[in-house]
């Protein structure tokens, strides 16, 4: 154990990073074996190889597996055609689940991206930037088990324990049951999501913002542009690719949100989304087939997001 732990420490700190750098250096050696005129064609595949090996094993193969499962019965012993999909579409709460998923995409994603831009741009102008970013980042660093505890403190029905009810109580409002009435409960859960994820958007957008050259901004100001004009005419267009990355990731996060709903309401009171429905089908109903069908619907749901990204790349390629 003692020797093993020391060895593990050496592997972790020195061995693993060295191995990854080593691979990159190895590629040029390997290319020496190829005829010079073929090198440019072979090189990209060597750089992609490790990534796609991992993706293939850990995501692509499981997804194909899921696709097959979705056409099989609950314990995957025989094929049943599209029966799982039919069951799902006719299931009582399915359309509410889809509606919630939609609410998450629209409200969660929009607020997170807009607030993220706002905070990143504003914080960029003050000396305590790091402090502000740290505060909005903090929620994501709290493990979700603890965040569940926090939000129980916030939403508790008893005004002696629930912060929000205590606050509205000061204004003379009766204690509200925040998490039991649809659609209010979905919005309350979206607020938790926003609280957690704005820091993510802020940090990445802030990284993007640092890539915009100061000279460009100064030149615009010299030309008499006011701050709003600078923001809309220069910062926003230059930040657009980063915003697109953040927006795409956040929309997908909205689709996959699981912990918040599972811990706060368990999907009760009409708060299910596709991710919690998947979990319920897989681990409550033990129905591998229907669960797989839910996962496939989740994949189909991001086709618009992917189309948007394709357009964006094509536009980017055109100008570069």
């Amino acid at each position: 154990m003692d020797f093993g732990t020391v060895l593990m420490a050496i592997i972790v700190v020195i061995g693993v990073p060295a191995a990854t750098v080593g691979y990159a250096l190895l590629t040029e050696r390997l290319l020496k074996l190829v005829r010079p005129q073929r090198r440019a064609a072979v090189r990209p595949w060597l750089w992609l190889l490790p990534g796609f090996a991992f993706l293939g094993l850990y995501l692509i193969y499981p997804t194909i597996n899921t696709l097959i499962l979705s056409f099989q019965n609950s314990n995957s012993t025989e094929f049943v055609g599209v029966e799982n999909y039919a069951t799902l579409l006719n299931q009582g709460g399915f359309w509410q689940t889809m509606l919630n998923t939609g609410l998450w995409i629209v409200f969660f994603a929009a607020v997170v991206v807009l607030l993220g831009i706002l905070i990143a741009v504003l914080a960029d102008r003050v000396r305590y930037e790091t402090a502000v970013k740290a505060l909005v980042f903090l929620p994501l660093a709290i493990s979700f088990v603890a965040a569940g505890v926090i939000w129980n403190f916030m939403y508790d029905f008893d005004p002696d324990r629930g912060t929000v009810n205590a606050i509205v109580g000061i204004a003379g409002v009766e204690p509200q049951s925040w998490l039991t009435e649809w659609p209010r409960n979905t919005f309350m859960l979206i607020i938790v999501g926003i609280w957690m994820w704005v820091g993510f958007a802020t940090v990445i957008l802030s990284a993007g913002l640092k890539g915009i050259s100061t000279e460009l901004l100064e030149a615009a100001r010299m030309d008499g542009a006011n701050e709003l004009q600078v923001f809309f005419r220069i910062i926003l267009p230059l930040l657009a690719p980063t915003i697109a990355v953040v927006a795409t990731t956040i929309v997908i996060t909205a689709l996959k949100t699981f912990d918040i709903i599972y811990v706060m309401t368990g999907g009760n009171f009409g708060t299910n989304n596709l991710a919690t429905l998947f979990y319920a089908e897989r681990f409550r109903a033990f129905d591998a087939g229907t669960a797989a069908a839910v996962a496939i619907i989740l994949l189909l749901a991001i086709i618009p997001v992917m189309l948007f990204n394709i357009r964006r790349f094509q536009a980017q390629e055109a100008i570069r």
Binding site: V13, W47, L48, P50, Y58, L59, N65, A146, D160, Q316
Partner: protein
Amino acid sequence: MTGDARVDAPPRVDTLAGSGPKWYNRLPLHVALILISMIWLLPTVALLVSSFRPSSEILTTGWWNAFTLPFQFTLDNYQEVLSRDNMGTSFLNSLFITIPATVIPIMVAAFAAYAFAWMEFPGRNVLFILVVGLLVVPLQSALIPVLQFTTNIGLTGTFPAVWLAHTGFGLPFAIFLLRNFFGALPREMFESAYLDGASPTTAFFRLVLPLSVPAIASLVIFQFMFVWNDLLVALILVGGTQDVAPMTVTIANLVNSLGQGWDRLTAAAFISMALPLVVFFSLQRYFVRGILGGSVKG
């Protein structure tokens, strides 16, 4: 050459200088930022205050009652969490899991992102869209096949099993983000480097990586944090036995099967959050303006 640009970032320019550096012009800015910070901080403050309250108080009254007389503050919750027999080992286990599970995916993603951004090959867009699409695969649906082959190759129960899994699961986002930043580097820079006889590998290590530090820094922050806070992948692939359990597992075991003991999670949250915050703050130095400008001029 790029190193100097990174360390000696240009002094911060007061970006509102044009409209006059009068403090009252900037007042709305400060008010907005401080207001947002306050709102964001409130839930965390509730948790922090609670973590210093006696367990029976946490369980039965609101956190603001801590400020009513008589004051009852205690370090019991912290002491209880820190004195778990397995806390030291599991902290170390978390490090052993998290460091490689951060380094490997970022390096592997950087290779792929470099190819996607600056190399020509057939099917480039299709493959890249595939990567973005994989972002949506639910972890729970991938875990069963992953566990199957991990067991088949005999890795289950070892740290490399989780390193590789987190690499696989973390790659889509890492490639997506890095390709975007790498793609924004100026083409002329590569052209002049190649003219000087640099190979693409040299360009990658000497130009691409140093010039993308803000993006890489944010990626390190998030990948580190996600792995550090992960419970499910660790529980399935390395298991929860004491010699390999990471901190998340040890902390989850503070709560018994009936849900009792959740009050200790208040203190556990701040203990487990400490290291991701250290990573966050120590990487802030790389979020500086002018890296690109400096290198192009230099």
